[in-house]
């Protein structure tokens, strides 16, 4: 066994500090390599997307998966979030006598934050991990290699349609989450808590503007893009076996979710800056 790499032996003879540095070095290098890999992957996908039309047969199933099959779960969770917001905010607002402003709070949180993030999270969980599992299985069973040998580029054939489905249909899912959340919040506040219908409506209209609504939609497009790229990347780089596929699916969701929140933060800061620049004042609930 003379030719086995000598790393293990040499590592154990090093001091703890050397080992600590090597371990962290490995983690950092691996992390950077992956960021570079994902960027390259996204770049190749963009090149394919803009140089050649996607094949028709590949688009429809993905649009159906993302747009139609995800709609019920997004609607359901949206409704619940709307109601939860009403429950959560009611007592605090009631204690300072401002319960009539509830509509503004709930709807603002929904269209700016919770609707887009919720729709993206459901998409990452439902569609993202499924994409990673399907592509991972295709990788493990050599179907991706087969595509390539038969002259179909796997990125053009598999990734581009998934990406398009995600970025084009996530706004619809976000609108659905927003709408059902607003309905759920209204239902709980007005019907169950007995807040005045007219006051609730007026307040909602006063505080939630077009900018809030569109900033939510705008963010969601980025969320959709991240979900597709990360999930497809994890699928393409799946390790062998059922375990590899399982890990790819889990990793697709976890990475997408972390990135969704990180991008959300960055875009919020950016959008706030734009809002201030345009209107010179901030929206206030009071």
């Amino acid at each position: 066994m003379a030719s086995v790499a000598p790393t293990d032996d040499s590592r154990s003879s090093d001091g703890p500090i050397t080992r600590w540095v090597t371990d962290w070095g490995t983690i950092v290098v691996d992390g950077l390599t992956m960021v570079g890999d994902i960027t390259l992957f996204a770049w190749q996908m963009c090149v394919w997307m803009f140089t050649r039309l996607p094949l028709q047969g590949t688009l429809l199933p993905n649009f159906y998966q993302v747009g139609v099959l995800s709609l019920p779960v997004v609607a359901l969770t949206g409704t619940f979030i709307g109601m939860v917001l009403a429950v959560q905010s009611y007592y605090q607002f009631a204690s300072i006598g401002l319960e009539s402003r509830l509509g503004g709070v709930i709807n603002m949180s929904l269209v700016r934050e919770l609707g887009p993030v919720l729709a993206a999270t459901m998409l990452a969980g439902r569609v993202g991990s499924a994409m990673a599992a399907v592509l991972g299985t295709m990788r493990v069973t050599e179907q991706i290699d087969a595509l390539e040998t038969m002259g179909a580029d796997p990125i053009h054939y598999l990734v581009v349609p998934r990406f398009l489905a995600c970025i084009l249909l996530i706004p619809a899912l976000t609108v659905m989450a927003d709408f059902m959340g607003i309905v759920g919040g209204y239902f709980y506040s007005v019907i169950i808590l007995g807040i005045d219908h007219a006051a609730y409506q007026t307040n909602s209209r006063e505080f939630v503007g077009g900018f809030d609504f569109f900033s939510g939609i705008f963010k969601s497009v980025f969320f959709g893009g991240v979900i597709a790229v990360v999930s497809c990347y994890r699928g393409f780089h799946c390790l062998p076996g059922a375990e590899g596929v399982g890990r790819a699916a889990t990793a697709a969701f976890v990475y997408s979710f972390v990135l969704i929140l990180a991008i959300d933060l960055v875009l919020n800061i950016l959008l706030d800056a734009i809002y201030f620049a345009l209107w010179q004042h901030s929206a206030t609930i009071l």
Binding site: V4, A5, P61, E142, Q143, T149, M150, D153
Partner: protein
């Protein structure tokens, strides 16, 4: 380095076998080889799988690659057609360096080869018909009737009944799937066909059916074939040349990974004991090695 350097004790056998092998090749006298790997090395995550492998496959030859599981046979085959990019060295297909080709040229090159994957690699999301029609739709402008006729004929050639065409890959047995994979790989009449363990996991009868299909393809038109196999019957029956690959990790760095390169009839008389043991299926010192590595 132009040729992998074999350990001294194998050197002579390799040379003499080369010559005898060369004389049995009708096509290889002046034609350039169809596939040529020069000093190809492949590493995955720092682990060396192939090191400085040099291989020339003349037109019309049927080459069998044997060797134990995990020694890199599949990786070698994928490297030959550019599915795996070599870490160093280059691969020429019909004189063109694969890494220098642009997308259109690479697609055109891939039209000329067929790959039969180990577990068929049929697309789960498509029917058998769509699977077999895939290369046709990808590369040729044919009417639906022409495609239908061609696909049904190919399925019949590999002995599959018509109703199979409407089924999905998951509904077929392993042997049927392999035959569909064969039909799909052969539908464009490729110049080079690569078979990855075409008979592994099949019953003896079905194995022989596959062997016959490989032979009948060769009878129909001048095809160059590379067959990865563990099945010595397949190697003897269909190959004119056998190459034995050895796992990189169990070799010294100066030893060649190719333990044997010659006609199948010479396998039994190979100088290298490991080749003879592999052919006869004897564990030999491998048992001792495994025990020793357990005790480590």
């Amino acid at each position: 380095m132009t040729e992998p350097i074999a350990a001294p004790e194998f050197d002579e056998s390799r040379l003499s076998l080369r010559e005898s092998c060369g004389s049995s090749e009708p096509n290889d006298s002046n034609d350039a080889p169809l596939v040529e790997a020069d000093d190809v090395s492949v590493q995955f995550a720092g682990q060396s799988i192939l090191k400085e492998v040099t291989l020339r496959i003349p037109r019309g030859q049927t080459l069998a690659i044997i060797g134990e599981s995990g020694c890199g046979k599949t990786v070698l085959m994928k490297t030959l057609i550019g599915l795996v990019k070599p870490t160093s060295g280059r691969v020429l297909f019909d004189g063109n360096d694969l890494s220098s080709l642009n997308y259109a040229a690479l697609t055109e090159t891939r039209r000329r080869l067929g790959f039969v994957f180990q577990n068929a690699a049929l697309f789960d999301s498509m029917t058998i018909f769509q699977n077999v029609a895939f290369p046709l739709r990808q590369h040729e402008q044919l009417s639906p009737e022409e495609i239908e006729a061609e696909v049904m004929q190919r399925l019949a050639e590999v002995g599959l009944p018509d109703e199979v065409a409407r089924k999905r890959p998951a509904e077929l047995s392993g042997g049927m799937r392999k035959r569909v994979g064969l039909a799909r790989a052969l539908i464009l009449k490729p110049e080079l066909v690569l078979y990855d363990e075409p008979t592994t996991g099949l019953d003896p009868i079905m194995s022989d059916v596959i062997n016959e299909l490989i032979l009948s393809t060769r009878r129909k038109y001048p095809v160059t074939s590379v067959i990865v196999t563990h099945d010595m019957r397949t190697a003897r029956k269909v190959a004119d040349r056998v190459l034995m690959l050895f796992p990189r990790t169990r070799l010294r760095s100066d030893q060649s990974q190719i333990l044997f390169d010659g006609p199948p009839s010479q396998l039994e008389h190979a100088e290298d004991r490991r080749v003879r043991q592999f052919v006869r299926g004897e564990a030999g010192e491998r048992l001792m090695e495994l025990r020793a590595s357990q005790n480590e």
